[in-house]
Symmetry: C2
Subunit: 313 residues, 2 copies
């Protein structure tokens, strides 16, 4: 199994990425390898500086770097030898089982659509994220930013994608799907969420439990939280900011510490032909390490294949 990692992506790349790769390498099993993508000489020097002497990190040369502020489509066209283009190339050629990057989010999304592409039958691929549950474990929330506006049928499909993810990656049997809304009653919400509610209710492939509210994000009502990318993005960033505030105040607690973006390390792109994870721009070595381990978990559970099988059936 090979996990491609964009060594040039993120505000603290390549130093933080190489450090994170070295940390992750210690956690990988036999036969699991990290492909570090970026400027070969720089990466070899950094691996050496970090005292890495193992055999489960390989460097692959990419001469170009897509910067954080670049226009995604332009950058991908103008930089065919960038680490992001290389990563998706490997994924498409099945020379990597997963690809992750803390670089330009837009380029990671556009790159996915241009190379491995959306799985047939998927209306809109989605970026998912995780919410810690008070009772332990994690819930999955989607979308968190790939699709600001979502039609009812797209929200319905997010319920399916999230269920499959929760089942095979988070090991939750018969995951409960909740629709993020402003009230529990089915008539509540926007025109879109009202219509999505009816679709989710009729969908026999998922365990839809109805609407959930802002106060239910961290309780056990739902394992899968369905919302448009505008709403999910606000929820996830608000949670992150609360972690930062607690941290600044010196308040530590096992539950709230999970709000730290570093804990999961990244957000999976669901619904494309390949396993891809987008990391936070500010990724620290620990975040990078966890992003690699998340990508590995997705590859082990063959989540992208499971989506493909589900929609080709």
């Amino acid at each position: 199994m090979r996990i491609a990692l964009d060594a040039m992506g993120g505000d603290f790349a390549p130093e933080a990425v190489v450090k994170g790769a070295v940390m992750a390498a210690q956690e990988l099993k036999n036969g699991e390898v990290i492909l570090l993508l970026g400027k070969e000489d720089v990466l070899h020097t950094l691996l050496q500086e970090n005292g890495y002497t193992g055999s489960n990190i390989s460097v692959m040369h990419a001469s170009q770097v897509i910067e954080m502020g670049e226009h995604p489509t332009k950058a991908l066209t103008q930089k065919p030898d960038s680490s992001i283009a290389l990563g998706y190339g490997l994924l498409k050629a099945q020379k990597a089982d997963a690809f992750c990057s803390a670089g330009n989010t837009g380029a990671m999304l556009v790159g996915a659509m241009f190379s491995v592409k959306a799985i047939e039958g998927i209306l809109r691929p989605s970026i998912a994220s995780f919410v810690p549950k008070l009772s332990g474990g994690l819930g999955v929330i989607l979308d968190v930013g790939a699709n600001a506006d979502c039609k009812p049928e797209v929200l319905e499909q997010f319920g399916e994608l999230g269920s499959i993810y929760a089942k095979y990656v988070l090991d939750i049997q018969n995951p409960k799907v909740g629709l993020m809304n402003l009230g529990e009653e089915e008539g509540k919400g926007t025109v879109n969420t009202q219509a999505a509610h009816q679709r989710l209710k009729l969908n026999k492939d998922i365990n839809f439990i109805g609407n959930i509210e802002g106060r239910d994000i961290f309780n056990d009502k739902a394992d899968v939280i369905v919302c448009d990318g505008y709403t999910g993005n606000i929820i996830v960033k608000m949670a992150e900011s609360l972690y930062d505030i607690l941290h600044q105040k010196g308040i530590h607690d096992p539950f709230f510490d999970k709000f730290n973006y570093e804990t999961e390390g990244g957000s999976p792109i669901l619904g494309i032909n390949g396993n891809a994870v987008i990391g936070h721009g500010v990724s620290s070595p620990r975040a990078i390490c966890n992003m690699v381990l998340l990508a590995q978990k997705m590859a082990v559970s063959k989540i992208s294949e499971r989506f493909r099988k589900n929609y080709s059936a």
Copy 2:
């Protein structure tokens, strides 16, 4: 000045409401009176049981009660002598300077539209709420539930309403208005927020600072947070749930303690001909007390009149 208080509204009414009224009565200035609306005999007994001997609480009889689960429009039609109908009647006849209730939220909203009505020029009255700022003080967020879907021109007007509220009730000079969004760049967001951004930017009556993100809710970027009621409702309920979790864990902090719904006691309805506040269904005596004091602050600052003057000009 007379503040009408629905004694029959809320899960713990009338006991908690009377207790809260007695607490608030101690904080009021000379000439400020609470009109306690509900079943006369019950309220007199409760006032006695609470040892109230002052002269700034008057009881006004209302023979009917709108229950929490009732259909708002039906209930208001069928119960013309309910405490909510009486409260709005007093507000309309200018026999009360403010009216507040922790009862049926829908009935409070519908009641406002049927009796005092929206101010001419107001597209959609809004329910506002408050977010504590890390640097101290409060920000105002609107809408938090009256309007799930909001057109761009409605969001623009929320920016105006919020600015006037922040200026005259929260004493913030030249309040900064931020549009809740998933990214800072002006091209980001839903079709609606993109259009609202352009309108807010051109509006010369407000100090629009651009988009804000989920991580900016508690910092000083914006004093007024503009969003649709679906989004605002989720944000406010998520913040409340975090207070509950911290409280359960025994974690106390002056900043996070302000996430407690009791601190402000209620959510003002902005844009109607009168000062009205809706409290939380679970309101405790302390919450009721603070709701009355919020209604008093709104009446003192003549906020409804200021809205009226602004739109009639």
